[in-house]
């Protein structure tokens, strides 16, 4: 029940200029220290609970973003860091930019800023923790319900 005490995050740079990326990493390092919340930056989508995306999506990266999202186990939360990830920002009019991350995957928390400051990134991720916890409860409820249904079916030999 203490899922939010130790969520792992995965970070992907969709088309960011690096400004937000280094701030995401800076918020994990001693000065800001997101790790005090039990958060670890992982490289493996299958271990991750929170997906932090920086930068808008483009022609090549939208498939990568979708793949990483699909590989993450449920429940999961997406945090879009920076104004580019939110709407495309200053690069909105570029020919190769499709727009914000929400054009590809559902986004739960939007962190504004160019570049987003570590303080607001931390705020965004803490906000995501509550969403994660809520989603976990729903997920467990749905799972229990599914199991109950299955048991019922098995009792009447309906699923043979």
């Amino acid at each position: 029940m203490f899922f939010k005490k130790s969520p792992w995050i995965i970070h992907y740079d969709a088309t960011s200029c690096n400004g937000c990326d280094i701030e995401v990493i800076a918020s994990l390092t001693p000065m800001y220290d997101l790790e005090r919340f039990g958060i670890i930056n992982t490289g493996n989508p299958k271990h991750a609970d929170i997906f932090v995306v920086t930068g808008s999506v483009n022609e090549s990266s939208h498939q990568v973003v979708k793949n990483i999202y699909d590989q993450m186990p449920n429940p999961k939360v997406v945090v879009a860091v920076g104004i580019c990830a939110t709407s495309g920002g200053i690069f909105r009019e570029c020919y190769n930019v499709l727009g914000g991350v929400d054009t590809v995957i559902p986004v739960d928390v939007y962190v504004p800023g160019c570049a987003a400051r570590p303080e607001s990134i931390i705020d965004g991720i803490i906000k995501a923790l509550d969403i994660l916890e809520r989603r976990l409860v729903e997920f467990r409820k749905a799972k229990t319900e599914a199991r109950r249904q299955e048991k019922k079916l098995r009792r009447y030999h309906l699923n043979d």
Partner: protein, 359 residues
């Protein structure tokens, strides 16, 4: 009997903060060929000049890359100033130099951290990033931003640093330098660091020069090429020599960057002593007409900005050749024949900036 395999590397990979994809053709544990494929960060911002006017475009130029953002803005301003024949006040040139060197220090510290992370030295990574925050504090106090400064404009700079603050900055840098030396000694002397980096990814000086390599990668192979020697901004009045190492391996590239941190801190001290009083910007009117190639030494090497204007508010063509783009062929060459375990180290010691490559 060895077997050929193709191992995909990236775009999402634990050691890479940025997306680049490489197809590594391997024979057992050895890479025989590396085929890079890019395009995961390509935005096409060179074409934005048609929509934004030449003064507003400074904001876009600064966002080509968030690590050396100030230098991108500065190179763009220099290019337009040369085309328009604007004489930038001397004080503004010195201020630009100070901020440029501060970004070099923060970029190199950041790189040292990422390199430590790549060979699995987690506490060293954390230490470098902690030191980097000291530099970022100075940057934030003088410009208002941490990574994107927004303090450069065509015709000068937006903000001034007064004498007392400048003195305080130099004192603070001296204090930080002592701490940095404590950490960089680990890179220079530690057995396990040397074990991972020495004689890995060796590139000779001739080969590096022939491949058009720039920046610390070229200097680590023994070629003294530093675009700051051209004498843009205030560098013509400052004393420095390009940092050169001979051996051309990953550890040499590491040593070059370590020594450049202290060189930059020294340059900031020199600039602070020589900085003249006066205006920090001139008023810019009219529209540019002409063309110019502007060159600046960034933390990763020489960057080229090409600006072509035809007398309208919008530039006709704007083109950036970033240092990592020039280092890409060298990276592919170095990966050939390397062990698969050394691939992350070799890629990291080139200090790739993918958003720079693709723009």
């Amino acid at each position: 009997m060895s077997q050929r395999n193709v191992i995909p590397f990236g775009p999402q990979h634990p050691v890479l903060p940025e997306p680049i994809h490489l197809d590594l053709v391997t024979e057992d544990e050895t890479v025989v060929e590396a085929i890079p494929s890019i395009g995961f960060v390509h935005r096409g911002l060179e074409k934005l000049v048609e929509k934004k006017d030449y003064q507003d475009f400074v904001y876009v130029a600064e966002r080509i890359c968030g690590i050396c953002s100030f230098m991108h803005g500065m190179t763009y301003c220099q290019a337009v100033e040369e085309v328009m024949g604007i004489a930038v006040p001397e004080r503004a040139l010195y201020l630009r130099t100070v901020w440029a060197e501060l970004s070099r220090v923060h970029s190199h510290l950041m790189w040292l951290g990422l390199a430590a992370d790549a060979f699995g030295f987690e506490s060293l990574f954390m230490n470098c990033w902690k030191l980097r925050e000291g530099i970022l504090d100075i940057i934030e106090a003088t410009t208002g931003g941490r990574v994107i400064f927004g303090s450069c404009k065509i015709g000068g700079v937006r903000r001034d640093i007064d004498g007392d603050t400048m003195k305080g900055i130099v004192e603070k840098l001296d204090r930080i330098a002592a701490e940095i030396r404590h950490t960089t000694d680990v890179f220079l002397n530690d057995y396990s660091v040397q074990h991972r980096l020495k004689e890995v990814g060796v590139m000779s000086g001739e080969e590096a020069y022939a491949l058009g390599t720039v920046g610390p990668v070229l200097r680590a192979s023994g070629v003294a090429m530093d675009a700051r020697k051209i004498g843009y901004a205030a560098y013509r009045n400052l004393k420095f020599e390009p940092v050169v190492e001979k051996s051309g391996d990953c550890h040499a590239r590491c040593r070059v960057r370590v020594r450049e941190i202290f060189q930059s801190i020294d340059l900031i001290g020199q600039a602070a002593r020589k900085m003249p009083e006066g205006e920090i910007a001139v008023k810019v009117t009219g529209a540019p007409s002409g063309e110019y190639f502007s060159r600046v030494e960034q933390p990763r090497g020489e960057v080229i900005y090409y600006v072509k204007a035809n007398g309208t508010k919008n530039l006709q063509r704007f083109r950036v050749r970033t240092p990592t783009f020039a280092n890409l062929p060298a990276m592919v060459r170095m990966l050939k024949g390397a062990s698969i375990a050394d691939v992350p180290n070799i890629i990291l010691t080139v200090d790739p900036c993918i958003s720079c490559i693709e723009r």
